[in-house]
């Protein structure tokens, strides 16, 4: 018993020593906390290096780099906001910002950001972080979905290889997938669809076919509708899996990484993936494996695609918004944006950064992505209140069942529209 008491006393002492004081030393230095979600080594290195450079040049405004986590970031930020302990500078994705912006947790950046930065990023990218009248984040990195293809299979099959200037149409893509599957032999497929997150893929690629799914009326209210254009991309995927057998059913529940072993083994000729997956392919592909990056197929919407860029925001509760905005200005200078983009294997939103020659090389498919970048649009669900609930409760199960062949297009449409509008209506009551 005496030993136990001694242990408790020791732990108490240790823990008392571990209690942090929230207030920094009173030395007149402004201290900003920057929570970054960068996770790949090159990206983390680039972030840290930029923070280091800022701190060296600005002894009066010191930034502390804190690595956050994509996992649970919404709940973590929500708790921090409610508790008044949010980081000053916040890294997130634009489709996660709506609730925080409408909840008054993020600062309106319009009076804070310099003209240089505002002018450098195209209006379509600013749309992704504009909620109501305010702008609540700086969109700085984005990634289109592309087709990563096995170069040897593609070239030996004799099919036309698409380019950003002349991509495949969705109809052509379906036909080519049939041709490819025939030439590849049994047990092999032209395409593998990793659709663990079926909603964002369906919606964002659907923009290329002229789909929107979410339609905003003159009164500002959003409703779900399912037009013919909205059905083209989901219909193509469904038919490839259920009718043509050019895509395996087994990958429908997989994440992008899960399809890579099959891709490397030549089981699939193409995998639609986010642009940043190239880093994994470079890292994991077996020696001699030849791959290429192709633009996603197009429809009446052209090479347009929906995206939710990565963003940097400033907390409304931050007492040093001006200094935080100055840091953002430094952090997102064109040269720095290029470093961040290369670190994350993504594309910068900034026009000047996107023009950097290093992002236009054919190596690792950079040029294809850069060519597609100017056609990227805000994801259709961007800023729709109630979208997360619609996605989780209505759309995800509906798309999963449709792609696997459990329900038909009519039932998919009914669920997305009828059930979906019931969900959205709750968020739009006045």
């Amino acid at each position: 018993m005496r030993r136990l008491l001694a242990l408790i006393a020791l732990l108490t002492l240790l823990l008392t020593g571990c209690t942090a004081s929230d207030d920094g030393p009173d030395d007149g230095v402004v201290r900003l906390r920057f929570q970054s979600l960068a996770w790949q080594k090159e990206s983390v290195d680039a972030n840290r290096q930029l923070v280091k450079e800022w701190n060296a040049a600005h002894p009066g405004v010191q930034v502390e780099y804190v690595q956050g986590s994509w996992d649970s970031v919404h709940d973590q930020l929500l708790t921090s906001f409610e508790g008044g302990e949010a980081p000053d500078i916040i890294h997130d994705a634009s489709d996660d910002l709506a609730d925080f912006a409408y909840g008054g947790h993020l600062a309106d950046l319009r009076p804070l950001l310099p003209e240089r930065l505002r002018a450098d990023i195209p209006a379509r990218s600013w749309e992704t972080t504009t909620f109501g009248e305010g702008v609540y984040g700086v969109p700085f990195l984005q990634e289109p979905r592309v087709l990563i293809a096995n170069r040897r299979i593609l070239e030996s099959s004799g099919v036309r290889v698409p380019t950003p200037a002349k991509p495949w149409t969705w109809t052509e893509f379906r036909q080519i997938a049939q041709d490819l599957t025939r030439t590849m032999g049994p047990g092999r497929y032209a395409v593998a669809w990793p659709l663990k997150e079926p909603v964002s893929v369906s919606l964002n690629l659907g923009v290329s076919a002229g789909g929107r799914l979410f339609y905003r009326g003159p009164d500002g209210r959003v409703t779900v509708d399912f037009t013919e254009a909205d059905g083209i991309v989901p219909g193509t995927v469904h038919d490839q899996v259920a009718t043509d057998r050019t895509a395996p059913r087994t990958t429908l529940g997989s994440g992008g990484s899960d399809t890579l072993p099959g891709f490397f083994a030549g089981k699939y000729a193409m995998v639609p993936l986010g642009f940043a997956y190239r880093q994994q392919i470079v890292q994991q592909a077996p020696e001699g494996f030849e791959w290429t990056v192709l633009p996603a197929p197009v429809g009446s919407g052209g090479t347009a695609q929906g995206v939710s860029p990565q963003t940097l925001s400033i907390a409304e509760d931050s007492p040093h918004k001006k200094e935080a905005a100055e840091f953002l200005d430094f952090f997102l200078r064109p040269a720095n944006m290029v470093r961040l983009a290369r670190g994350d294997w993504m594309l910068p939103t900034g026009t000047a950064a996107l023009a950097d020659p290093s992002l236009h090389t054919a190596r690792d498919g950079w040029a294809t992505g850069a060519a597609v970048a100017e056609h990227l649009r805000p994801a259709p669900a961007q800023s729709v209140r109630g979208y997360p609930e619609w996605k989780d409760k209505v759309a995800t199960p509906a798309f999963q069942e449709y792609y696997s062949g459990a329900i038909d297009g009519t039932e998919l449409c009914r669920r997305l529209v009828e059930d979906g509008n019931r969900v959205l209506a709750r968020y739009q009551r006045r």
């Binding site: 018993m1 136990l4 242990l7 408790i8 732990l11 240790l14 823990l15 008392t16 571990c18 209690t19 942090a20 004081s21 929230d22 906390r33 979600l37 996770w39 790949q40 080594k41 983390v44 502390e64 780099y65 804190v66 690595q67 986590s69 994509w70 996992d71 649970s72 709940d75 973590q76 929500l78 708790t79 921090s80 409610e82 508790g83 008044g84 302990e85 980081p87 994705a93 663990k196 997150e197 994440g255 992008g256 990484s257 890579l260 072993p261 099959g262 490397f264 083994a265 089981k267 986010g274 940043a276 997956y277 994994q280 890292q283 994991q284 592909a285 077996p286 020696e287």
Partner: protein
Amino acid sequence: MSALRTSGPARAGQYLALLAYLVFLAFPLLWLVSTAFKPAPELASLHPTWIPKDPTLDNFRQAFDEQPLLRAAANSLLAAVSAAVIAVAVATPLAYVTARHRGRLTTAATGWVVISQAFPFVLVIIPLFLVLKNLHLINSVAGLVLVYVVWSLPFALWMLMGYVRAVPAELEEAAAVDGAGRIRTLVSVTAPLLAPGIVATALFAFVTAWNEFFFALVLLKTPEKQTLPVVLTHFLGAEGVADLGPLAAAAFLATLPSLVVFGVLQRRITGGTLAGAVKS
């Protein structure tokens, strides 16, 4: 008592079932170890093998290079050991009183303990955050330990009550008849018999705290304070993309303390339990 006898085939079947169960339990750990030693191309192979063809320590090197694993492990260890010791120190006397003095109040308390286990984290996190903020315990291991103790206390109490009830009250009465005072009886008679239960409860509290992610993610703000589960998520990107090799290496290292603690203490639990189970 006669020994239980089983026929040869039945016994073989039992061993087979036990073996299958052990393999089932061990599979995740063995796969984790195998993954931790595989180079990137092998990780992406369509035909994964149990034994890495070209084992490498690169994943471990990369994991340590990219993340402050040792510091995070030290934070986790401090939080988990503190939570376990404090939870047991608080729960043991409470369990004793609750188990020995039954009444409506203790029944209600026990019911509440069970119900409280059903509360989801997200339900309590914001009020908890505000309380800790007022106590200036945000971003401190002390605050995290407080949460872990509160979180594991109900179940610890519930576990220990069972162990206390298993100690015959007649033993304490006999000690009293022999002249031992209340404290002496508790320390010399009851406590040794409760030891396996206390160890098991401490293990439960330790493992709960060691593995906990969400509270640590929300309550600890600076990198110096982050615990191992939080640092492990730094190997994960958006939409479930993972740096699999270093993640497996770091996760394997993170399981070691739990394995070591179980390895060291399991004999104590088993031995104590058996000792208490035999009646002369």
